[in-house]
Symmetry: C2
């Protein structure tokens, strides 16, 4: 299969679905809806919802049944970026090469747009077609909430805030990043498995895959922040280091970080052994995550 | 029935359920969990979750089946208060007589605590006992999200931000307040009706009741902000007026505002005509909302 074409087709599918889900800019309150669309339709790579769709298919489900859940995962991600960029958090001026939400719409509207994107995520997943058992959808709601909340992504952000300027151990770095980035990436895969009606063994294998790519993704993110090129990343390079944040390279060095990322991605691919051809997109995505330029 | 005893018993039931739902302060990240509990267990009157339980019972359902949904409604309310108080929004220093979350924990942690409370709301409602049909629970998730999101409460906040310092019409004031406060109060009742398995006619009557008390509640809130006593309210009196916000009394005067509030509460009580004794708590709560001191 051609991964590039596959990703492009899936990105379009997701962008169209998100565009239909998001309220139009012409509807009151215009500022809020404009800000929501600005952040949710900003040309991101859609790696998380693509994972949801691919996991659903790998488990035996249909793409269209998993589309609302995929959008929900992306909306949770979009919400987190808007709030992370706020002045009281990372105070970032650029995201994906564009001014951040609060720079364009002001802090109050950016705050509310983040809130509304998060809420829309749960509205979206609850709209999963009735061909998916209602119990499975509720399980997916619970899993997404758990991955996003204080035990997952939001908790990781809070640990990160607590760790700023402090000496942290490698175990603490892993804990922070597992929650901040890994939890939602893993949930993207598991939510797909659930709405795709994967059986227990398939679900376990997909979870294992999700954990592996989650870890690889975060380590690569840290490496990119250190060594990447600002234009390509569209955000301020070295910003984590400047704020004395706990990162993999700062705690265990560049070489060891690269080794760990490769190990995690390999582990993820190995977890897919039982699936054969059906899991080819997930295997290629694991390689892609590892081989982003750094 | 003795309303005071009834409310006290229900408040305790809800406070205990919330306390079990919220992660313990001793669990990492401690700052986040402490901030979540600080805002969600702060001695509020619990009027919204009490409405959810009462609506469920009025429709023929069980209190214990409606408890997770009731907690979800209260958590959405708690989230909105934390974010509304932030410096970029109302910049309030006190809430219910205590320093606001960002004053105690800092802005970053308050932001994240609000996010985590919102997410926990959806995790909670998804944990509704299996005695409630899964489809009904998903309907309740969707309704709660819709009431909380850009078409409801968060949208009302955004309209309010847009309206600051501008001349607004009475119709615009009603629109802002219907969304800001009315939408969640109405949803509290309707979510209760849904998980309580009310039939269509009962559901419609309860929705009508919810709309009426939602409107009455907001008008009374505006009147209290204008005339209430700071100590009793636990927040800065006249703060809406100072920021030139659109309120009922500022747009249509105190006397007309009082008349409108009474009309809305009466309308709410009339909607319950078909229920007989079972709806007595809802009737008394409508009176209570109207007769808060102002």
């Amino acid at each position: 299969m051609n991964l590039k074409d596959y990703l492009k087709t899936r990105q379009e599918l997701i962008n169209n679905a998100l565009s239909r889900l998001l309220p139009p800019e012409s509807e009151l309150p215009e500022s809020l809806h404009t800000a929501m669309r600005y952040s949710a339709l900003d040309g991101g790579k859609r790696i998380r919802p693509i994972l949801t769709l691919a996991a659903a298919e790998t488990g035996g489900g249909k793409v269209e049944d998993a589309l609302p859940a995929a959008c929900a995962v992306e909306l949770v991600h979009a919400f987190s970026l808007v709030h992370d960029d706020l002045p009281c958090m990372d105070n970032d001026d650029f995201r994906r090469g564009k001014p951040t939400s609060h720079k364009v719409f002001g802090e109050a509207t950016a705050l509310l747009a983040g809130d509304a994107l998060l809420i829309l995520a749960f509205e979206a997943i609850a709209q999963t077609p009735s061909s998916v058992p209602r119990k499975a959808v509720l399980d997916a709601v619970q899993l997404l909430a758990s991955a996003a909340g204080s035990a997952g992504m939001t908790g990781g952000q809070a640990l990160d805030v607590e760790a700023e300027g402090k000496q942290v151990t490698p175990a603490e770095v892993e804990q922070i990043h597992r929650r901040k980035t890994g939890a939602l990436l893993e949930a993207a895969v598991v939510v797909g498995a659930i709405v795709g009606a994967a059986d227990e063994a398939a679900g376990d294998a997909l979870s294992e895959y999700g954990r592996g790519i989650g870890l690889a993704f975060q380590i690569v993110d840290d490496l990119l922040d250190l060594t990447g090129d600002q234009e390509r990343l569209g955000k301020t390079v070295g910003s984590d280091l400047k704020r004395d944040k706990a990162t993999y390279p700062s705690v265990m060095g560049v070489a060891e970080s690269k080794r760990l990322a490769a190990e995690a991605a390999n582990h993820a691919v190995e977890a897919l052994a039982s699936f054969g051809e059906a899991a080819e997109p997930l295997r290629l995505i694991a390689r892609l995550i590892l081989e982003r330029d750094y």
